[in-house]
């Protein structure tokens, strides 16, 4: 029904739009008052928005925003969170206590709420969006890495490294993180899906990328006001968003099943 190759194709074109977008002759901000809310034509295959800007051009420049924001946020969160969590789990004691309490506090905020509040306080703009999402995003990775490290730290090879006088950071980097990377990678994959939605959500609320720059979230918001007369304005960015999140989630599921030895053995 919705196969992996289809998901891969969608994600590849997402990346392609983000990377090649600047090289294309796009006019995402050019206003054509004759074409307000007009349907597709030769210049704009997906029609025009509420001020007469070509939707396809805006879609492609929005792809760039969502792609780079999600890659950056997930990269920062994964690296920071895994390091903090694994170190806390390995070192234990007071460090672990403090880190665990900080994680508890962050987890007390329901999902997107803290991101919305942070983005609101920092003020609109793409860098603040990245900062807000990263400062919340690391927590999940830290919790996961910590729990995994706790189950690993008594393994023989870790003990041996410790006896040899290896520094905690080196042990974590070379002897622990490689072994717990599988669940972290799965978490990072799903992380991309939630960051794509969160970025669009912030822009939808007016807390993300500022006009006239195109973001899929702000395109949806602009479109909701004109649904009765021009529903394509709200449908186009939403379909793009849905396809990408769906593809990421689908591949995440496949990756999880594949990395989980138990299901692989029982299936094969």
């Amino acid at each position: 029904m919705f196969k992996s190759w289809f998901a891969l194709a969608i994600l590849t074109s997402w990346a392609a739009m983000a990377l090649i977008g600047p090289l294309l002759p796009l006019h995402p901000d050019s206003v054509d008052l004759q074409k307000i809310m007009a349907g597709p034509d030769a210049q704009a295959w997906l029609g025009y928005d509420d001020v007469g800007r070509p939707l396809l051009d805006r879609l492609i420049s929005g792809a760039r925003i969502s792609f780079f924001v999600s890659i950056l946020v997930v990269a920062i969160s994964t690296v920071l969170g895994s390091l903090i969590g694994a170190l806390a789990g390995y070192v234990g004691g007071a460090v672990d206590f403090v880190v665990s309490r900080v994680i508890d506090i962050f987890l007390a905020f329901p999902g997107i709420l803290l991101v919305i509040a942070l983005a609101g306080i920092l003020g609109p703009g793409i860098d603040n969006v990245i900062i807000a999402m990263s400062s919340v995003g690391w927590v999940g990775f830290a919790r996961l890495a910590r729990a995994q490290t706790l189950s690993l730290k008594t393994r023989d090879h870790v003990q041996a490294a410790r006896v040899l006088g290896t520094k905690p950071l080196t042990i974590v980097l070379r002897h622990i993180l490689p072994l717990i990377s599988a669940p972290l990678i799965v978490e990072a994959t799903f992380g991309i899906a939630s960051v794509v939605i969160a970025e669009a959500g912030l822009s939808f609320l007016g807390l993300g990328v500022q006009p006239p720059t195109a973001s899929w979230g702000s395109m949806i918001r602009d479109g909701t006001a004109y649904m009765l007369v021009a529903s394509h304005i709200v449908i186009v960015p939403g379909v793009a968003l849905l396809l990408i999140v769906l593809s990421v989630n689908l591949l995440g599921d496949r990756l999880r099943d594949w990395l989980d030895v138990r299901t692989r053995l029982s299936a094969g």
């Binding site: 508890d104 609101g120 949806i220």
Partner: protein
Amino acid sequence: MNFLLSRLASVLFVAFSVATLVFALMYLAGGDPVDYMLGEFAKAADRDALRARLGLDLPWYQQYLNFLRGVVVLDFGESFHYRKPVVTLIAQRLPATVELAVAGLLVAILIAVPLGTLAAIRRDTALDRGAMFFSLLGVSIPNFWLGPLLVLVFSLGLGWFPVSGRHGFASLVLPAITLGTALAAILSRMVRSSLLEVLNEDYIRVARAKGLHPFTVVTKHAMRNALLPVLTLLGLQLGALLGGAVITETVFSWPGIGKLTVDAILSRDYPVVQACVLLISITYVVVNLLTDLVYAWVDPRIRVGGR
């Protein structure tokens, strides 16, 4: 009893820290609310007077203590924007959010339990695959798009429900579906996998061998045990539901806490933001505590092990 006390202590600690964090965020946020309230060209004397009345001229630790005292006695000061006590605003908006959250939860359960059960019983059939694709779709569709889409079809197209606002039952339907879909998707997966695990147990085989009706076996014997992990997940996911309410309320102009929060953030109405964020987080923490307690109450194994 020890279990209860240690859980209560950690909830109190987290609540206190959340309050501190919320205060710190707003304090460090910068931007003078007085500018916003009076405009940039107000007289210096007027600004100082207002600042003193709001307690903004005090050093940070005084403001912090005032804030903490306010949290305890439920006095969050006055909204910069509405010029009303924050508590009054929240009291006005709270019923709408509770209504929406309960309705969203009901939608999620009413979809997830039958769907997950069917998928588990008819494992590896087209029905199962269809249900799981729906689940994947449900977690992937952003609620700020699902909402407008539902409005497009059911309000503008078919004219069944109002576009926005809160006027009677009809206006609750679309927001509740918008809010409940993601949770329904996650729950149905959980119901399915949890039921599949239970269905392999010996006592299910016994029940079947006794010749009990398959419906009775599933609903009476399997479901009771299968729903335990689902219950825990439900508690954890309520946070996502509350977060989702913030966006759903904005989509439908639903006059609840979520919309109040977003409006307050956009207009830099700090006292309202502080109180709303605190309220939502503490609700979430308390719900998780209750989930733990209910779990212990429902499952004798945990209750006995805890003693």
